[in-house]
């Protein structure tokens, strides 16, 4: 008995195979321009006989083989609670939106907020700026290690891009700009998150959760303990698989 969870995000599509206790396989691919084909690709890689499949994320309705579709809010809550059962909330910074999910003592979702109006303060924002600085997103932690942050005042990704161009023209160093971008996202995220009554341990998920510099910046501006997990990017897919397993047994 297995379940598959697939999270079709705006930037990447994540899939996991779950046996009721452990995640036994993980797949991540860039979503690209054809999310349906990408989901099928992920599904085929994970497929076993007798699996129950739950899909989530923007493209959740696209996979024919899906047994059930559940929103990314519920899946992120469930997935994070599966990875760490001591948390009280989840902050997820995705490719083009960010969300805060409040959990109750039984780890059920109590309330949530979603910022899906624009790409400001999301993974896309970092991606755009790093492309401009001609640096790899994966090396960001090292890149900003000893830098002092330059204040980035534009909240809009497009405006911030031109702000960065003019900072570069003023000979401000790349790492200092990158650090400024990280702090700007952290502040934006925490002021958004503070609209819900947060306390205790907060789980940080999404692609940006892999960056320690990002985690530290959020911890600093939120003044709460932030935890994450090596599989934090898969948290939506894991939640989908956990729910799928429960549904099918």
């Amino acid at each position: 008995m297995y379940s598959i969870g697939i999270d079709s995000g705006s930037a990447t599509t994540k899939g996991v195979l779950f046996d009721g206790k452990n995640v036994i396989e993980k797949v991540i691919v860039a979503t690209g321009a054809n999310p349906r084909r990408t989901m099928e690709e992920v599904y085929n890689k994970l497929y076993r006989e007798k699996t129950y499949t739950v899909t989530t994320g923007y493209g959740r309705a696209l996979l024919k083989a899906s047994n059930k579709q559940i929103t990314e809010i519920t899946c992120h809550g469930k997935g994070a609670a599966f990875l760490d059962d001591e948390i009280s909330a989840v902050i997820d910074i995705g490719g083009q939106d960010s969300k805060v999910i409040l959990l109750d003592r039984e780890l059920n979702i109590k309330d949530f907020l979603m910022n899906d109006k624009c790409a400001a303060g999301t993974g896309r924002f970092v991606e755009v700026i790093m492309r401009l600085l001609q640096e790899d997103l994966c090396d960001l932690d090292d890149y900003v290690k000893d830098a002092d942050a330059t204040k980035i005042s534009s909240m809009c990704t497009v405006f911030a891009e031109s702000e960065v161009v003019s900072l570069l023209a003023h000979d401000i160093s790349g790492p200092s700009i990158a650090k400024g971008v990280i702090e700007s996202i952290a502040q934006r995220t925490s002021s958004f998150a503070k609209r819900l009554p947060l306390e205790g341990k907060i789980f940080f998920s999404g692609g940006l959760a892999q960056l320690n510099s990002m985690k530290d910046a959020i911890e600093k501006s939120l003044e709460l303990e932030i935890v994450t997990h090596k599989d934090a990017q898969y948290v939506g897919a894991i939640g989908a698989a956990v729910i799928g397993f429960q549904k099918n047994t």
Binding site: T71, E72, T74, I109, D111, M114
Partner: protein
């Protein structure tokens, strides 16, 4: 099998009232009867009614004329205000065209200032609405504004309006309110008798019908029919029960209702101003001073332009209990400051006092956010 077909047809009929209203309005005008275009629910409909005039809502619900409106108005303004202005300016709205007089009220800042510009296209009479309904003189002031409107109608239509005429109009309008209340009280039934979308079609459609007696009769027949079929076993599936509050909805903003009902819940009550907000309280028919009675009723409308706005919370309080509501969804139109700010208190009230989940969604008259609305509503309903 004919019975089964009938109800949807009736609901559709209400839903088409706005589209077909053009002909109805034309016929109405051919009888040489005046038509008064209105905006908010504070305008006492009893006055136009007392001279046999019809009132029609000019609060627009489509994004069609917004581009034209944005030539004069800021982009970052409530879509209802932009759309209403745009229809007036482009003369594309038959109701605007047929209105002999347009009456606005100083409800929100956006409308108040928009009326100045609208006055260039059409005579607009603006009633000065006090924003604290319980302070000294608020009642006197509003009563004075109602008397002023009466005098304006007398002058413009060369007639006199007697107390007796107003009294008759009060009784008639009260009967319409009661008929509407009895209809939307069907939402109390659990399992539900009708969908929130059908409820909305009727509530919204009613505002585009011009003969009150006909409306009252149609509503009574409809309520009877639904009740009868319900008793005969025609019930809808039990789902989480949603109360909608906030800015006016209808037209394109039906997308919120659709997102709720497509994702596994049922809307059972509308607190908005096209719903129960202005219908719940009747005008006191025993008060000999008709203007006093009207002022009292209309100042009790719990709109967010009022501060304090206790009436809204007492209606929410009652409705959440009486309609066995599981969760509250608030709809805020983009850049509607008073409703947006009041979401904090509504959320606190619903979460802490009523122990129910609450979500507010901001939207406009475009359809670009349908995907996001669906995700939000689905997630909210999964949480219940």
């Amino acid at each position: 099998m004919t019975i089964k077909k009938e109800l949807p047809e009736i609901f559709e009929g209400f839903s088409e009232a706005r589209r077909n209203g053009f002909i109805a309005a034309k016929k109405f005008k051919e009888q040489n009867r005046p038509m008064i275009g209105t905006f908010c629910t504070f305008m006492p409909q009893e006055l136009p009614l007392s001279i046999g005039a019809a009132t029609v809502s000019l609060c627009a619900t489509s994004d069609e004329p917004i581009a034209e409106a944005e030539k004069d108005l800021p982009r970052n303004l409530c879509p209802l205000i932009k759309s209403s202005y745009g229809f007036g300016k482009t003369d594309k709205c038959p109701y605007f065209y047929f209105s002999d007089l347009v009456v606005g009220e100083t409800t929100c800042d956006g409308k108040r200032k928009m009326f100045e510009l609208m006055g260039e296209y059409k005579p607009v009479h603006v009633m000065q609405l006090p924003h604290n309904p319980v302070q000294d003189l608020a009642h006197e002031m509003w009563k004075g504004e109602i008397i002023k409107l009466k005098e304006l109608l007398e002058n413009q239509f060369d007639t006199t309006i007697t107390n007796e005429q107003i009294k008759e109009a009060i009784v008639l309008k009260n009967r319409e309110r009661s008929a509407l209340k009895e209809f939307y009280a069907l939402g109390k039934l659990n399992p539900p008798a009708l969908s929130g979308m059908d409820l909305l079609k009727v509530l919204y459609g009613t505002t585009f019908k011009f003969e009150k007696e006909d409306t009252i009769q149609e509503l009574a027949e409809l309520t009877k029919k639904v009740t009868k079929q319900y008793e005969a076993g025609q019930r809808l599936e039990i789902k989480p029960r949603i109360l909608i509050t906030g800015c006016p909805i209808g037209g394109v903003t039906e997308k919120v209702v659709k997102a709720i009902e497509d994702n596994g819940a049922t809307v059972v009550f509308y607190e908005n101003c096209m719903g129960a907000k202005a219908v719940e309280d009747l005008v006191d028919e025993n008060n000999e001073d008709v203007f006093d009675a009207l002022a009292e009723k209309y100042l009790k409308i719990g709109c967010s332009c009022m501060s304090p706005n206790d009436q809204r919370f007492s209606l929410l309080d009652r409705a959440i209990d009486e309609y066995q509501v599981d969760a509250v969804v608030e709809v805020v139109l983009q850049a509607c400051h008073t409703y947006a700010i009041e979401t904090t208190n509504v959320k606190r009230f619903v979460n802490d006092k009523k122990n129910k989940p609450y979500i507010s969604v901001e939207t406009d008259y475009s359809t670009s956010d349908v995907g996001q609305l669906n995700t939000r509503m689905a997630a909210f309903i999964e949480m219940l």
